[in-house]
């Protein structure tokens, strides 16, 4: 028997179902079918069934291919893609290290001053215990805040398996904005968030999603370096893209992109920055494509500046 034992029953069902509805169709790519080698090991198969009408009735032409090699190269490509994404992410985080340190420094400052204030209150003759209690509660909160910052950072630095799972886009965006808060302040950039309520979850990897977002936000800030500082506004918008999952747009108020460069900005090693390799957007596009979404650039219709838009599917459509 060519089939692994545990799958025999379900494959028989599949066959019966097909015979009940004779149509030529290709296999659902997410449906893994395995055969069995002589030594008992499993082999991934691709099966195509074609209904052929003949004088003797409908016949079914079945082609079965061993796709071990294809699967391996797909896996290798995914690994390389993730390796590159991680590398690019770590580089990006390195550039942000100053702001990240600041985000940690704030709760540390609050904790130190709170603790020293509490010690002073305790040494007063009549200690206001309510005040001290309030202080201790704040210290606990600030400690948690620092912990959250570290948690977010650790996640982004980690080189883990890419995990495709239901992802709340708005939450992930708010996390990123918190992380980038001081970098935005440093750039004098105000963020206009316009996050649609009750968005469906998308299917994606949280870390890679945030990586793309951070990249687009940093690019947006850089693009506004020559914009008058009171006009440096970055819009971050989410909306449901009918039938296309969720659409996320990051728009700046810089000088926009020349029409003939709309596509080339995504090519690797194309950059307008004095430092940087020009890999950011190329990697972003790779990530989004691997998620089954699209990433493109456009100029804002209403005012100056460029807008980077990407979509992410709500259903499993990823190729990873």
């Amino acid at each position: 028997m060519l089939l692994p034992e545990e799958a025999r029953a379900s494959y028989a069902n599949d066959r019966r179902a097909y015979l009940g509805d004779l149509q030529t169709r290709s296999m659902d790519p997410d449906h893994d079918v395995f055969g069995r080698r002589k030594d008992g090991s499993k082999v991934p198969l691709e099966i195509r069934l074609s209904a052929v009408g003949t004088a003797k009735g409908t016949l079914v032409l079945a082609s079965i291919a061993d796709i071990t090699a294809r699967r391996r190269s797909e896996r290798e490509m995914a690994e390389q893609r993730n390796e590159l994404a991680h590398l690019s992410r770590v580089t990006m985080m390195g550039e942000l290290s100053g702001s990240m340190a600041h985000e940690l420094n704030q709760p540390l400052t609050a904790i130190l001053s709170n603790a020293q204030a509490a010690l002073r209150y305790l040494s007063h003759e009549s200690t206001d215990l309510d005040e001290v209690r309030g202080i201790l509660k704040d210290i606990v909160d600030e400690d948690k805040r620092a912990g959250e910052v570290i948690g977010r950072l650790r996640l982004l630095f980690k080189k883990g398996e890419v995990q495709f799972q239901p992802l709340n886009v708005n939450e992930a965006i708010e996390d990123v904005l918190k992380l980038l808060h001081s970098d935005l302040v440093n750039h004098n950039v105000v963020v206009d968030g316009d996050l649609a309520e009750s968005l469906p979850d998308v299917h994606g990897d949280r870390v890679q999603f945030q990586q793309v977002l951070i990249n687009l936000i940093i690019n947006g800030c850089d693009a506004m370096a020559n914009t008058q500082s009171s006009k440096r506004r970055l819009s971050v918008r989410t909306e449901s893209a009918n039938g296309d999952g969720v659409r996320i747009a990051v728009g700046d108020r810089g000088c926009g992109i020349a029409p003939d460069r709309m596509e080339s900005v995504f090519e690797p090693f194309v950059t307008t920055k004095s430092k940087g390799m020009g890999l950011g957007l190329a990697v972003c596009r790779t990530i989004i494509t691997a998620h089954g979404g699209r990433l493109w650039a456009e100029n804002n219709p209403d005012a100056a500046g460029a807008c980077f838009v990407f979509t992410l599917p709500t259903q499993k459509k990823a190729i990873a």
């Binding site: 704030q106 709760p107 540390l108 400052t109 609050a110 904790i111 130190l112 002073r120 600030e142 302040v185």
Partner: protein, 207 residues
């Protein structure tokens, strides 16, 4: 004028840090007023207060350094202590040059903060008096009519009544009356005093 009790104005957009720093100052017996943005501070602080300002350098909207400029333009001259997450040297130098009394790095130890605040307040005790005098002079100058201001300008630049009258197209007697009114309003007895006060009040001498 007697020196009022000092007030520390703390400005930081991070609510937790602001609260903690204010607590620390209060726990050591200082009066503190907090503001969550430079704009809020500029709109709401008591311009006659004696004390100092603690400013976070990194804030959205007006930066700490810009606020320093706005305060200077305000003429209050409250000493400023800067708090910063990452004090780079050019930024520190710029702030100090414009009269910041201290530049402290977060997280700030109570010893450093309280010492900075005390010395800022001590410094302000001296300048507060001068500031009040200028403010007083300015408020008195504000009671002068445009014509009186004109006459004052001429007196200050050392012109005789006769010259002034000629230049302003009137008679000497009228100028004398204006001049008397000016001295009365500014509460001075001599021309020397008048000149001193006009100068402190920022009256420009016509050339």
């Amino acid at each position: 004028m007697t020196l009022p009790a000092p007030v520390v104005f703390a400005v930081d957009d991070d609510a937790s840090v602001l609260k903690a720093v204010a607590r620390l100052l209060r726990s050591s017996g200082l009066a503190v007023t907090t503001f969550s943005s430079p704009r809020e501070f500029l709109d709401g602080y008591d311009r006659q207060a004696h004390g100092c300002v603690i400013l976070d350098v990194q804030m959205p909207g007006l930066s700490g350094l810009e606020l320093q400029n706005a305060l200077a333009a305000d003429g209050t001259g409250l000493p400023i202590i800067f708090l910063t997450g990452k004090g780079d040297i050019p930024m520190t130098a710029k702030a100090m040059k414009r009269g910041a009394v201290d530049f402290l790095t977060k997280p700030v130890d109570e010893r450093d903060l309280l010492e900075a605040v005390r010395s800022a307040i001590a410094k302000d005790s001296i300048s507060w008096q001068a500031r009040r005098e200028v403010a007083e002079i300015k408020s008195r100058l504000a009671t002068l009519t445009p014509r009186e201001l004109e006459v004052l300008g001429h007196v200050v630049s050392g012109k005789l009544n006769k010259q002034t009258a000629a230049e302003l197209g009137t008679v000497e007697q009228t100028i004398k009356v204006h001049r008397g009114r000016v001295m009365e309003k500014l509460n001075v007895e001599s021309v020397a005093e008048l000149v001193r006060i006009a100068e402190r009040g920022g009256i420009k001498v016509p050339s």
